[in-house]
């Protein structure tokens, strides 16, 4: 479990609320994320997990409460400094019209060189490294919009890697992928986090995928944090019933012995 209330923890949210047109979407969210962990956000549709992720990524401003990164309020970060620290991938990645993979990945260097700065050797190296790490070398000069869903998702992850941020924020990165690619993308993210000591915050639809790849899971329901803990804490029959409102059973995976849930 994460220690509560450490002032300079990697990311901490206090009393965060969010409403649109008087409709309350989130309220009283307290959340701490430890550096170097993979943190999954789960919950039923409309529980506010995507909104929470957007608030964390500074894509939207919360209506109440505070978000602090490394002890400093999120609002104090300049745009580019924040982008050097946090990389965000939206749920629906836009069509990278006519761009090659290498050009897309090179966009990840924008926070480092800015509008007018030179695209130097270190930028080039970061791009090559990101492409190599995501095994996209053979695709580097292919057009992004001509690739399959899984390859495209890898290209966007490569862009986030080139951004060289300490934290990756992903909104349902597997929603449009088949089973093999879901596992491929998530295990890539997990390995990267381990190798580089990155912190990952990811919204996942599938509780089993979350249990398999995340270190901690935070469950949301109707705008509140319902519970937060390790996969083993969450994957309990009564916890799952409270989160999803249906009866679910749990058994241990015969090979890796992690808990797996199923509908009763």
């Amino acid at each position: 479990m994460v220690e509560q209330g450490v002032p300079d923890s990697f990311l901490s949210l206090r009393g965060v609320g969010f409403s649109v047109d008087k409709k309350v979407i989130l309220s009283g969210i307290d959340l701490d994320v430890a550096a170097g962990s993979v943190c999954g956000l789960v919950g039923p549709n409309g529980s506010g997990k995507s909104s929470l992720l957007k608030i964390i990524a500074r894509q939207v401003t919360p209506s109440a409460g505070s978000v602090a990164w490394g002890g400093a309020p999120a609002t104090d970060w300049s745009n580019r400094a924040f982008a050097r620290h946090v990389a965000y991938m939206p749920q629906f990645t836009p069509g990278a019209d006519g761009m090659t993979v290498r050009e897309l990945v090179a966009l990840g260097r924008f926070p480092w060189h800015g509008t007018l700065g030179r695209f130097g050797d270190s930028d080039r190296r970061a791009v090559d490294d990101a492409i190599a790490r995501t095994e996209l070398e053979t695709f580097a000069d292919r057009r992004v919009d001509g690739m399959s869903g899984g390859e495209r998702q890898r290209a966007w992850i490569a862009m986030m890697l080139a951004q060289d941020a300490r934290c990756l924020i992903l909104d349902e990165p597997t929603s449009a992928l088949d089973l093999a690619h879901q596992a491929g993308v998530l295990s890539l993210v997990q390995t990267l986090a381990r190798e580089r000591g990155l912190t990952v915050i990811v919204v996942l639809h599938d509780i089993n995928l979350a249990a398999r790849y995340c270190d901690t899971i935070t469950a949301l329901n109707s705008g509140h944090v319902l519970m937060s803990g390790t996969p083993a804490d969450i994957m309990q029959q009564d916890s799952l019933r409270r989160i999803f409102g249906v009866e679910m059973g749990v058994f241990n995976h015969p090979h890796h012995h992690q808990p797996v849930s199923y509908l009763l």
């Binding site: 500074r58 894509q59 745009n79 400094a81 836009p94 990278a96 019209d97 006519g98 966009l107 057009r143």
Partner: protein, 668 residues
């Protein structure tokens, strides 16, 4: 218990409320009529004679006019309700579907080119034009199952092309057809009851036909599959209703001219007031349409000095059309996802620099050709040496002006396409060049005879205001492609209706505006050439530093913000730049040329994908296209000349239509 009853039976209460409201509005309208009669200016002269004259005016002008307003309004309201219902499209009406523009074009053609046609009743000619336009619009969107957004776009383009043709004919035969414009803006003034008498039976027939078609109409509220499974012959019903709606609208157009957007407003208000079933909406729309047009026309009479109209009623209702369209946009849902991205990027050039060099050589060739080759009585002539030097002061400025304007519009289009991430965005489609025209109109009203710099300034303000307003309105939807395009259609319609107010005056100001609309380079001198080149250099230079913005912004707000770009600031700066480029470009070639759409597109299709390469290629192509068009416009109907802007629109319009239909093929 009490609360429960209220929730369970809201109907009677609402009904009574509606009845009270209706009664109130009827009283107001009656009051307006009484005011009209009471305030009618006294006829000067000997008392007895004046009294006779007064009663003649009352019974043969004022009364038929009031009756006609009510009838025309009812017919248009009914027509709009039918169109919207049968196309399942809340912004369908005679103006947005190109019916009005088509009817107007047909009448202009008849009046200007083939007077023999006028032996036919005007209504038949108008009906023919309206049906033709509607057929084109529906054919373009047929394969997309008449998707509302595609229909709206096609309607806008057809309207644009029809208007360009009408203006070309009017300018060529000004002496005969200038009156078309006064008529075209929907003046209701009457000398007798003939208009009323011809409209009454048509409205009755229309009402009966609607009543007969009511059952299949009701089933058509469901989607096609469901309607078909209920045994309704969808196509037959749809065509019958469309024909009825066009006939009603065309009858009104033939008698009083174009009454803009009434067919849009009436059903919308009816629905807003709580009309729910098909019967309620159609009757409600007819009644509200009648009330609206009568109120608008009475107000225009009362407000104008001495009962001369402040503005024709049609132009006045059109003024409300633009804002109303913007208001209705959030309700409009595309039934299919508009996949605009699939048009683009067929290939990438492996060596774009070589491609740019080839383009440059081509544009230079066009430039030299336009300078040296002209038409004469013995066919094409090459002018070299002394005659070349003689012709240079005439040809050089207009070619430079055309080329510069083309380049500026191309850059403006490219910026718009990139900041909205929408490949169909362009100064013309987004209504920004028409916004410049609205600015020009305002300054014509205020100053009378403004100097070119004042005109240019007013246009710049108009264009910037229009584009920023549009961006602000569509920002909330994250610049979704359909919202952007529809807001553009609305902005263009609003700006055009402001211009119609001046065109309808039929004085010198109308002529200046008409000349600007046509985008004529006949009078382009060193001043125009200087403005074109100067503005091009000053406005395009900053873009050298914005290459990265232009790469990142098409990816959308979330990604751009994630990369640390100051999205709002970047968008604002680029938007202002694009609007200024639009104003300067359309100052020379008018608002209709479509260069801003075509040039960036051609650049992409040729395979220039990186922003820098695309920008240079678009500049070359824009300049080349307009220089070539200017050259051709001198040659094709020698010794006459077609105004450049219109000529370019007539070339590019079909290209845009082809693009739309191709897109529909490839994305479904």
């Amino acid at each position: 218990m009490h609360g429960m009853a209220d929730i369970a039976r809201p109907q009677p209460r609402q009904g009574r409320g509606m009845a009270v409201a209706g009664l109130g509005i009827a009283c107001l309208l009656l009051l307006l009529l009484l005011l009209l009669v009471w305030l009618m200016p006294a006829v000067p002269g000997e008392p007895g004679q004046a009294e006779t004259l007064h009663s003649i005016l009352l019974w043969h002008s004022l009364m038929p006019r009031a009756a006609l307003a009510l009838l025309a309004g009812a017919a248009l309201g009914l027509s709009g309700a039918l169109l919207q219902h049968v196309l399942r499209n809340p912004i369908a009406d005679a103006s947005t579907l190109g019916i009005a523009a088509g009817a107007q074009l047909a009448l202009t053609v008849a009046l200007g080119m083939a007077p023999a046609l006028l032996l036919l009743p005007r209504e038949i000619i108008a009906f023919g034009g309206g049906v033709l336009s509607l057929a084109v619009v529906l054919a373009l969107s047929w394969r997309r199952q008449l998707d509302p957004v595609t229909v709206a776009l096609s309607g806008m383009i057809v309207t644009m092309i029809a208007s360009a043709l009408s203006i070309a004919i009017i300018l060529a035969r000004g002496e005969y057809v200038m009156s078309i414009f006064i008529w075209g803006s929907g003046s209701l003034s009457q000398q007798d009851w003939s208009g009323v008498l011809s409209l009454v039976p048509r409205l009755i027939v229309g009402a009966i036909a609607t009543a007969l078609l009511m059952r299949p109409l009701r089933v058509l509220s469901l989607d096609d599959a469901a309607a078909r499974s209920l045994g309704v012959s969808i196509h037959a019903t749809r065509f019958a209703v469309l024909a009825l709606a066009v006939w009603l609208a065309a009858s009104v157009t033939a008698i009083v001219g174009v009454i803009g957007f009434l067919g849009l407003a009436a059903p919308a208000i009816a629905r807003y007031c709580g009309a729910r079933t098909t019967t309620e909406i159609t009757t409600g729309a007819a009644i509200i349409g009648a009330g609206l047009l009568f109120a608008a026309d009475s107000l225009m009479q009362l407000l104008g000095p001495g009962f001369s109209d402040l503005a024709p009623a049609g132009a006045a209702t059109a003024l409300f059309g633009g804002p109303l369209l913007l208001l209705l946009l959030p309700r409009l849902r595309s039934t299919l996802n508009l996949q605009v991205a699939s048009v683009s990027a067929i290939r990438r050039l492996s060596r774009p620099v070589v491609g740019l060099a080839v383009l440059f050589a081509g544009v230079t060739a066009v430039f030299l050709g336009a300078l040296a080759v002209g038409a004469s009585d013995d066919g094409l002539t090459f002018s070299l040496g002394a005659s070349f030097a003689d012709l240079l002061p005439f040809r050089l400025p207009r070619i430079v002006a055309a080329g510069g304007a083309g380049a500026m519009l191309a850059v403006a289009g490219l910026i718009m396409q990139r900041i909205t991430g929408n490949p169909l965005a362009s100064p013309e489609v987004l209504g920004v060049s028409a916004g410049g025209g609205a600015g020009l109109t305002v300054v014509l009203f205020l100053v009378g005879f403004p100097t070119p710099p004042v005109m240019l300034g007013a246009m710049a303000i108009g264009a910037v205001v229009t584009f920023l307003l549009m961006m602000a309105l569509t920002a909330r939807s994250g610049f979704s492609s359909e919202r952007v395009l529809l807001a553009g259609v609305a902005a263009g319609a609003l700006a055009m209706s402001i211009m119609t107010l001046v065109l309808a005056q039929g004085d010198m100001r109308s002529y200046i505006l008409l000349l600007w609309l046509s985008g004529s380079t006949n009078n382009a001198g060193p001043l125009h050439a200087g403005i074109a080149l100067g503005a091009l250099v000053v406005l395009v230079a900053p873009l050298a530093f914005c290459g990265r913005w232009l790469t990142i912004l098409p990816l959308g707000t979330a990604v751009a913000r994630g990369l640390g770009l100051q999205v709002a600031r970047a968008r604002l700066m680029l938007a202002v730049l694009a609007a200024l480029l639009t104003a300067a470009g359309s100052f020379i070639v008018g608002p209709l040329s479509l260069t801003g759409l075509v040039a960036p597109h051609l650049a992409r299709m040729m395979g220039f994908q990186k922003p820098g390469h695309q920008l240079l290629a678009a500049i070359l192509l824009g300049a080349g296209v307009l220089m070539g068009a200017d050259w051709l416009s001198r040659l094709v109907i020698y010794p006459y000349q077609i105004p450049l802007g219109l000529f370019a629109a007539l070339i590019s319009g079909p290209y845009l239509l082809w693009l739309l239909s191709r897109k529909s093929g490839s994305s479904t």
